[in-house]
């Protein structure tokens, strides 16, 4: 597996800046996608993304509490040390389709949650700073619980038929 990190994180403030950005971006992304799915008449997936956004907000609030009173460094949007295009927990925008099922959406969410967990776990192994290692390990454990929760959720969702018909296909008039 290729590295999820582009460089080491060696201070608690830098670690918290990464964790907060990651959690806030992920929650924000779910909220945007929920809106988008609602606009495109996919209420089931919209509702699911909204639930995941609420979960994400709770994670972000948890990180904020952990970092209360810490002055965070101002990191440029392109300088965060994850190798993925967006934050490790953010659902990739280009993976979506307006006809996607809740099952497919949950599979994507699970994939991201695993990537988030692995990001923290790699950080817990890679940092030279003991405090960062401890915090990262704690976050990896927390993410592990989310992974388990999503697996249970996924197991309870009906697997869609392989070929769901498009009842409202893109209109090509000519």
């Amino acid at each position: 597996m290729s590295s999820l990190l582009t460089g080491p994180i060696e201070s608690v403030a830098e670690f918290l800046a990464h964790a907060l950005e990651m959690e806030v971006e992920s929650a924000e992304r779910y909220r945007e996608l929920a809106d988008n799915m609602a606009v495109h008449n996919n209420p089931g997936v919209a509702e699911l993304f909204r639930q995941l956004a609420v979960e994400g907000d709770a994670h972000a609030a948890h990180v904020e509490r952990r970092g209360a009173g810490v002055a965070l460094p101002d990191i440029a949007p392109w300088a965060f040390k994850w190798s993925s295009p967006d934050g490790p927990e953010s659902l990739p925008l280009d993976e979506l389709h307006y006809l996607m099922s809740r099952h497919q959406a949950l599979e994507l969410a699970l994939h991201n949650e695993i990537r988030g967990r692995d990001f923290y776990a790699e950080l817990a192994r890679a940092s030279k700073n003991a405090e960062v290692r401890a915090l990262a390990a704690e976050m990896a454990e927390e993410e592990g619980r989310h992974v388990a929760m999503l697996r249970d959720w996924l197991a309870s969702e009906a697997v869609p038929e392989p070929s769901t018909p498009d009842l409202d296909p893109p209109h090509s008039p000519e």
Binding site: L72, A76, P77, Y98
Partner: protein, 274 residues
Amino acid sequence: MSTIAQRARVYKSTVRPIWCPGCGHFAVLAAITRALAFLDLPREEVAVVSGIGCSSRLPAYLDSYGFHGLHGRALPLATGLKIARPDLNVLVTGGDGDGFSIGGNHFLHACRRNVDLTYIAMDNRVYGMTKGQASPTTAPDWSKSQLTPHGTGVRRFQPAAIALAAGATFVARGYSGDPKGITRMLVEAIRHPGFAFLHVLSPCVTFRPEQRAWKHEVHPFAAGTGADPVEAASQLQADDGLGLGIFYQQQLPVWPQREKPSGSLAELEREFPV
């Protein structure tokens, strides 16, 4: 304690985008809000002007000044705005049809004037809003539209090479699947004094689903950033249209050049009595 993602929220409006799920334009919208947050630009100092098309809906999704103008006329509108309000950071957004076909002539002249604008052209090589016809950047053999069942047979418009030839002083290409990259280019483009052209490859997942493969095909522009237009043009001619980076950047006088008033208010009043 706040991060870029939190500060970027300030720039988002409450209007929900109607773009198709999976559309590349979402990443461009996110990159704009992040670039504005990074630059810490007050919303009232930002204006976003557009023409017509899917990507031209973008100003509605931002909580800054915005103008959703006529088809192909975003650049002249933005030019007028920048001349009247030089204090504003004026961004222009649009697509390949709006910018290179209907607004093609304006594109050339905006480049050569070197007005201090940031032009973000989201290129998906199709007219998406009118349901999938060939645009100026569509390959000549693309035959998926019933209007051009054998392809257009016309060579593609080359936005970056043409911007360079027309006199743009900042020419770059990004890809919506590389949000870090386009955010960085946007920051550089907004900071650049003069006409900054950012060509963004932004897949249309509905009418050009094969563009999802761009994520495996884009590559860094081999030559890097240069200030020599002849060298940059040569490199661009050799590129396959999927090279990403800032190709060319040069500091040249910005139009219009403003001279400080030479007379006092009393002298002006004497010259123009009421």
